[in-house]
């Protein structure tokens, strides 16, 4: 419990910074959206198009004149920011003890190594939840000015729930990297490479049909905002993969850290 509280406090500054970054993007984003919202020119064109055509567009793209469509476009960027936060927190919370040479102190305390990991994981998870809640609140507050339909708040809630799962995946992977890397200095770089690699996968997977299998390897592609918006669901196979990745990573982290040869 003490470890949990200690880590909550130690990581607070980082949480505030990431919240600030999200707030900044949301505010800038909505200020741009104001040019599109109910834009008469665009609406006129949309009205004159055959309904069937719009239908086919709407399934894979977003109508930027509505708040829902706009959030659908923002979704990918918010996912990227929250993903970075989670993977950095995960790897840093473990590896910082060795970097700051506090590991001697932490591990001579009368707690098991696994207790240490549990406390740290719980603290980082709490921060992920707080960041997701802050993102949710910021989006809802900014959207309120545009009088969105009730459907928007449902979409926003489901979208944020999906992003929380994404954060948990990256957090678990980050903790695994922090625990299992032999050299603590490498943990951060490896965490970035994983994030970059999966992000590139998600961008490229949509370009070519044969590459669709790549979506299984990148959490950024697990939660398709279009599917959440139009059918309010996510593909269940991705949820199973998410659960699997999180469980395996955490189990791996406990095993690896219990046997870890510490750098002192």
């Amino acid at each position: 419990m003490r470890i949990y509280l200690r880590e909550l406090k130690a990581n607070l500054k980082s949480l505030l910074i990431y919240t600030g970054v999200v707030a900044f993007f949301v505010v800038v984003g909505f200020s741009k959206f104001s040019a599109y919202a109910e834009n008469p020119e665009i609406l006129e064109v949309l009205d004159s198009m055959p309904a069937a055509l719009l239908e086919s567009f709407n399934m894979n793209a977003f109508n930027l004149t509505t708040v829902e469509g706009f959030f659908g476009v923002m979704f990918a960027f918010v996912a990227l920011i929250l993903g970075i936060a989670a993977v950095m927190w995960g790897s840093d919370i473990i590896s910082k003890e060795e970097r700051d040479k506090t590991v001697e102190f932490a591990l001579t305390l009368p707690v098991k190594r696994s207790t240490l990991i549990t406390g740290k994981t719980a603290a980082a998870f709490t921060h992920c939840v707080l960041l997701a809640l802050a993102t949710w609140g910021l989006n809802a507050a900014n959207a309120a000015a545009y009088d969105p339909e009730p459907g928007f708040y449902r979409f926003l809630f489901q979208g944020m729930a999906a992003l929380l799962v994404l954060q948990v995946i990256f957090l678990a992977v980050g903790i695994l990297i922090g625990s299992a890397m032999k050299q603590h200095k490498r943990a951060g770089s490896v965490a970035i490479s994983v994030l970059l690699g999966t992000y590139f996968f998600s961008v490229i997977a949509g370009l070519r049909e044969e590459w669709e299998f790549l979506t299984y390897f990148t959490p950024f592609a697990y939660f398709d905002p279009a599917l959440i918006l139009h059918e309010s669901r996510v593909e269940s196979v991705y949820l199973w993969i998410s659960a699997g990745v999180v469980l395996v990573s955490l189990a791996g982290a406990y095993l690896a850290y219990a046997r870890r040869d510490l750098y002192i």
Binding site: V21, V28, K32, Y36, F62, T65, D100
Partner: protein, 267 residues
């Protein structure tokens, strides 16, 4: 000279990894060009019959995957992200590493001025970045010529796009150095370089996707946007000057800040 050589040696492995990463990105993504180009022609034909407003409303107004350089622009953006992270990594750790690893105690008593130390370190980092830069040039020409399958492209425009890398790297390097010197203590480099590089990236992608120019004009990703260069066949000079101005201010500022810096010592 000793510092320069020592620094350069410490960059070797990292330069190798980043160059390889850039090469693989170009190779893997560009090798898909042929199949995508065929599909893209049909898609673009279909899209071109729609009114522009509709495409803007759905955020599909600048798709240009059927030409060699149009597709290369997308791939190049990935390289830019990697180059930005690499350059900011080098920038943030350039002088902060000595304090973090307590080697400043060893380095600073040497009979050499802080200005000279900084010069040697900056030159070594710049040379390391330039090697990566050359690797991107070589990989681009190699991969494009292997995969273009008879399609032509404008070599001059490609040279224009690739020439932006130098300033792009210097922006992140010098910004990293000056920010690290403004901070009292740099505990770890990666979160900072991630924030700088990805922050600028997201700012730009988001900015070009919707609405008019706002804050994204501070982002080098915007200054050196390959699609703009492609469309105009030239740089957007006022924007490029923003990058140059940042470099011109940041480097002298680093010398001043480092000269006056209160260095944390081991004891």
């Amino acid at each position: 000279m000793n510092i320069f050589l020592h620094e350069l040696k410490s960059y070797l492995k990292s330069v190798g990894i980043w160059s390889l990463a850039n090469f693989l990105i170009i190779l893997v993504y560009f090798s898909a060009f042929n199949t995508i180009a065929l599909e893209a022609v049909q898609l673009e034909e279909m899209l071109s019959s729609f009114p522009q407003e509709l495409l803007i409303a759905f955020g599909m107004n600048d798709m240009n995957f059927s030409s060699v350089l149009g597709f290369f622009g997308v791939v190049f953006l990935f390289c830019q992200i990697c180059l930005a992270i690499q350059a900011s990594n080098y920038g943030f750790s350039l002088v902060s590493i000595e304090e973090r690893e307590l080697t400043a105690d060893f380095l600073l008593p040497k009979p050499i001025s802080r200005g000279k130390i900084l010069t040697a370190k900056l030159l070594a980092a710049f040379l390391a970045l330039t090697i990566t830069n050359l690797a991107v040039w070589a990989s681009s020409f190699l991969v494009i010529n292997l995969n273009r399958d008879g399609r032509t492209y404008d070599v001059q425009t490609l040279v224009l796009i690739l020439s932006t890398i130098v300033i792009f790297q210097l922006f992140f390097l010098s910004a990293g150095v000056v920010i690290s010197l403004l901070m009292r203590r740099v505990r770890s480099v990666i979160p900072l370089s991630m924030a700088l590089a990805f922050g600028m990236y997201i700012l730009n992608v988001f900015g070009t996707m919707v609405g008019e120019d706002k804050l994204e004009i501070i982002s080098p990703f915007r200054h050196f946007d390959p699609n703009t260069i492609l469309a105009n066949g030239a740089y957007d000079l006022p924007l490029v000057m923003i990058s140059v101005a940042v470099i011109v201010v940041a480097i002298p500022a680093s010398y001043i800040l480092y000269g006056k810096r209160n260095i944390t010592a081991a004891v």
